[in-house]
Symmetry: C2
Subunit: 727 residues, 2 copies
């Protein structure tokens, strides 16, 4: 591919981006699209504004860019949580590193590459892209030290930046742990592999075990029940009720005739407290087969955070397949249906899924090989002679080599995350965010060996077009939210329903966006010294990503649950991997170019990079896996001093009950899981009994059992969740 | 090599073995060798028997074999601890597996190999060994299913045996944990990375930290001090005192003139309680620079085992490099000089040592390549034409190909364990037994890629001679204890000293013997189906090993510390590795032999073996890494019920004091580490103040602070340490 083909590709992509972004800036001003582009605000108060019709609404503007640019880190934190901040830090880190890399490579490496051979340079637009890569440098050239120096400079600056990022993110994570209001998940341990006994129920076993071995810290527990038909009926009933309520809001509170269940007409009053009504209706049905519905899993609540962490980390039983404990995920993060899977199956599932992922990875080679073929047109026309005529046309040639490969690849790539998501679900993960972690690993592993199998310099062309197509275009698609937009149009203007579109409120898709960022980082690192022409395109991508993702976090996505930046070590490790891979490729290239000095100097760099990684792993990463005892104990003591500890206990159980059947498990005769009168009383409090999953339509900030903040220790609460700023 | 060369080699080795074993049976009857062959008994009561001179003493006998054969597992457990039992189980497991393999392969595989080609067989003694391997089977032979079947049978029986071994060893380990008398190490946590503060000493920091965060369970602590000149002087003084005592036992208790310190003569009385005298002399000297001598490491004692385990497992501080906790090793197992290494250095040391080990592994290729050359004489005489004349002689040929290679290899191999041991010491391990774990890994890694790089069937010859030389001969050398024997002879008959040879008492060299067993297991598995002729030789080795190691455990080695069979997972994993490697090699060979059915059936076998391993890893291995809370809490409660808990506290500190300076650190004004009066009082008890390391000459059973066994809970103490049975 020559420069003009590159410009063709860039032109197509720039045009697409400008069109999409202008379209976005118009669409977002339409009141009817409020629920698509301002989902966050819409969820909080679902009111339609009816702005007057004016011309300004149809003129593209850049105001949203300004808004995204001006938002502070505090704002992002309050709106999107720590995960969003850490994600944005990843983008900022990439921008910083690649600005440094671009500066070094444009002024040092690029001229050396271009004038590397004694040759007659063509006119610039007809110049092949190969001329700008390290491939153009003569063998045993003395100028290769410059490449080695650039490699050192980029690696060192990346390490320094990584170190400070890791440090500040660790600090933020600690502040997040100490500063966040008491969270039910901190006091709760998920127990699986409860041994079956013919004499008593699982609930009794849990009660007995924990009151024997943790008498001082055990509060109560909540069994996991099998999902059955009653539950499904209840869900339907609730949905029906909500529909009725929406349809006739003016009649609320009055008696009305209503027709469900195929023709029989009842007259009933809509109760103010719907949860209670559902409970009283279904409770009696559930009672008899209560015990049979118990699964060998339970949420066990402890008196302090420290006690919960200890119970989660210690090996409980001499048989490691029984009484398996781990810290519970946040209530909204729980993947209920997977909780019922017997623990003994989980390892088998994991292995099967690993095999499945490997198979998918191999299947992925097919489209990649096809794409590789497209970039090498000569071979393609050799293999398929009938294409020769078409391919000879210059424009076709440019489009085929410059644009088509990435499009094909992207289409296949879009199929991978759902596949992996399906796999992860089958694997039996108990929380949604553990899926993100795996996807990142899979995705990174997936792309590297395939795409970097051949030497980087020769694949330069492909990577540039990939950044242009996949990077730029995907960001434009992200901002315009094509699928929700179409659904909205369909609903509003064709179906003409006025149903609340609450189920659209999505959480930020970390599982696809983090691997994407990391992949571009990998491409950037590996190409930086070898083929620096890619860096400007990559920088544009990262700048655009910065603006687009900020905009989306501020306005579109809602935060349902939060990992506290737990994915940062993945980002760190992948970046280190990218750097080491770059260094190894450079070592190989220096070897091919017969420059023993450059190769010799690269080896210690690899070693030092690995050493740096090892240091960070020792120094920072444990905090991302386990909470420090010192901090937990301090928090527990503070809670106790403020007297809010009783409030917390009273809401623990409600937070983890999937169904409003608590009043039955509270009954000592059926489950015996209640430990104190105060606990029973508070569980009857209708507010605390509203289960999390019944609200799955309405999206609320992550469950915070104790809403009130103690005046005494206000200082410790660093960043309380503020409501999103006005649009 | 042909059968007659093999017989030559076997003959040489059998002769050596018979001579050495007969020699052993004579030497062990000599009273002067009591301290070499019955070290265990000698250490307990160092009295020389003076048997009457009789002919029987000079006639070889097999009584020791009978004795070793008849010993029960209980006896081994009481004498050598659980480690010895698990080691012997490894040997028994190998015998069982290879008996099965030998039966299958001799009756099924060997005939197929031998009649695999339509060829004229030579006379049996001139037959090449190649004829007995799978290499002799025709390509695409229908008989390859027999090899595949044999592989299945061996793999399955090995898995079944492994499963039951793992199960019973896990059970034994649990019984060991619950049944062993209270051990100081169970209550003790080693803390490293204590932060430095200008205001107060390390000891004060420890006191403050643990009484703040573990107020209910913290008892006291013992700082680690820098080893200095005073300590060295004290050691010398003690050694001198012991010498004097041995030289003039009849004068003990009386005043006597003595000359030390270059000419000045003092008259002094030997105190009954030497520890006390040393303490009172050196205490004042140590006092002033006490704080400066403190290192940022301490042993912290807890009220219960469970509390100690929790403190060891939980992440203490937001900075993971500070307050690093782990369960303390047994007092005798502590590697004191490495405790002073700052924790920040440890990871760097580990990495450096890893690099060093890799370098050594590569250096090891040199002798291996040389040995490989020896087995292929044709190439050797081609490379060195001047050798042609010598090599043509038949006998020389047989010795060179049959015996020399192994000898060269063994000599080099003997250099590896000391090198690795040195590395492990430099790495900063805090206990001796953690070194064993690493060596096993290193040794396994070291031997495999080098020796199995070429296809197994062709290296058959080499492996057989290796088993003969390294295996048989090394066992004979082990039993005869050449080095201690020579030292003993030198001392008794040439130097004519009567010094107590206590420093000879060795612990069982698990770090060399486990890798050796595993290596032979690996050779056995890989050769079993491919070249089954090796199996009888291997079986003889394992039988001999069974007898020799039992004999040595019963009579020679002493148990200073014990890991509770913690190395079994290494044995298990290595065996699985051997099996999978065998299956992969078989897959390759079936591929070469063009038998798609056999290859096709081998792939699921590999998968099933790995699945089995994964199951065992989930089901059993956690118990070998962490103690279950349930068990610990039960033990703590039992101690409390029996009232022996106070006894235990009182002896904790003494167990971990390297120097008898406890009385000073007991002083609250200097260290503030004492928590209760009872603790102080008991620490002044002279018995509890005798530090472990000062007794390093005299070898005692592993420290058991509370000697007395509670009558109430006698039942829980499954296998109390009995004294070794009479010889």
């Amino acid at each position: 591919m020559d420069i003009s083909a590159l410009l063709t590709s860039a032109g197509i992509n720039i045009a697409i981006c400008i069109v999409l972004l202008s379209l976005y800036s118009i669409l977002r001003k339409q009141p009817s699209n409020l629920c698509v582009y301002f989902t966050r605000k819409y969820v909080a108060e679902p009111v339609m504004r009816s702005d007057p019709f004016c011309l300004e609404r149809f003129v593209p503007s850049a105001s949203w860019i300004m808004r995204a640019w001006q938002a502070t880190d505090e704002e992002i934190l309050s709106v999107g949580g720590l995960d969003a901040v850490v994600f944005m830090r990843t983008v900022v880190f990439s921008i910083r590193v690649f600005i440094i890399a671009a500066m070094i490579c444009t002024f040092l490496v690029l001229p050396i590459n271009y004038y590397g051979q004694e040759m007659q340079h063509k006119q610039i637009h007809a110049e092949s892209l190969e001329v700008f890569t390290i491939g153009n440098v003569k063998e045993a050239s003395k100028w290769l030290w410059a490449h080695c120096l650039a490699l050192y400079a980029i690696s060192c600056s990346a390490c320094v930046l990584l170190y400070f990022e890791y440090k500040s993110i660790t600090k933020m994570r600690m502040a997040h742990i100490t500063g966040s209001p008491p969270n039910a998940s901190h006091f709760t341990v998920l127990v699986r592999g409860i041994p079956w006994s013919p004499d008593h129920s699982y609930s009794d076993s849990v009660e007995k075990f924990f009151s024997t071995y943790y008498p001082a810290s055990y509060v109560s527990h909540q069994m996991v029940y099998r999902t059955g038909t009653v539950e499904r009926l209840m869900k339907d009933a609730e949905m029906m009720y909500r529909k009725l309520k929406t349809a006739e809001p003016q009649r609320a509170g009055s008696s009305m005739p209503c027709c469900i269940c195929g023709g029989s007409t009842h007259s009933f009053k809509i109760l103010k407290n719907e949860a209670e009504s559902v409970k009283s209706k279904t409770g009696d049905v559930l009672q008899p087969n209560h015990r049979e519905k118990e699964r060998p899993a339970a949420f066990v609540f402890f008196r302090t955070r420290y006690a919960a962490v200890v119970a989660a980390q210690v090996l409980q039983s001499p048989n490691p397949m029984l009484w398996v404990t781990e810290l519970a995920p946040e209530p909204r993060d729980v993947y209920w249906s997977n909780l019922s899977i017997p623990y003994k199956q989980v390892w088998l599932r994991k292995i099967t899924i690993l095999l499945g992922a490997i198979v998918v990875m191999f299947l992925f080679i097919v489209p990649v090989a096809f794409v590789q073929g497209l970039t090498q047109l000569d071979q393609l026309s050799h293999a398929f002679p009938f294409l020769k005529g078409i391919l000879k046309k210059k424009y076709v040639n440019q489009v085929v080599t410059g644009y088509l490969p990435s499009v094909v690849l992207i289409l296949f790539m879009y199929a991978v995350p759902p596949t992996m998501m399906l796999f992860s679900t089958m694997e039996g993960n108990i929380s949604r965010r553990s899926i993100i972690r795996q996807l990142s690993v899979f995705s990174s592993v997936r792309d590297i060996p395939v795409q970097l199998a051949k030497a980087v310099p020769t694949q330069n062309t492909f990577f540039i077009t990939y950044v242009l197509t996949s990077g730029w275009a995907s960001l434009a698609c992200e901002v315009i939210q094509l699928f929700p937009l179409l659904c909205n149009v369909l609903r509003k203007f064709i179906l003409r329903t006025k149903e609340e579109p609450l189920s659209w409120a999505l959480t930020f898709p970390y599982h696809t966006e983090i691997p994407r960022l990391l992949l571009f980082g990998l491409i950037g690192f590996t190409c930086s010294v070898m083929a620096p022409l890619i860096l400007p395109f990559l920088l544009v991508y990262f700048f655009l990503a910065f603006l687009v993702y900020r905009n989306q976090i501020l306005h579109v996505y809602v935060t349902k649950y939060e990992s506290g930046g737990q994915f940062w070590p993945i980002v760190h490790n992948t970046t280190i991997f990218s750097m080491v891979l770059t260094q190894i490729i450079a070592l190989g290239v220096f070897g091919i170019k017969k420059s023993p000095i450059a190769s010799g100097f690269t080896i210690p760099l690899i070693f030092l990079t690995l050493l740096f990684n090892e240091y960070c792993r020792k120094r920072f990463s444990p905090v991302f896996q386990r909470s420090p005892a010192q901090v937990l104990i301090e928090m527990d003591r503070q809670d106790e001093q403020c007297g809010r500890i009783e409030d917390i206990y009273s809401q623990l159980k409600a937070a983890y009950s999937r169904l409003p059947t608590d009043s039955h498990s509270q009954d000592p005769s059926t489950s015996g899981s209640s430990r104190s009168n105060q606990d029973q009383e508070s569980s009857r409090d209708p507010e605390s009994l509203k289960p999390g999953s019944l609200r799955c339509g309405k999206v609320m900030p992550a469950t915070e059992p104790s809403g009130r903040i103690c005046e005494k220790c206000q200082s410790s609460i660093v960043l309380p969740r503020a409501s999103p700023r006005e649009i």
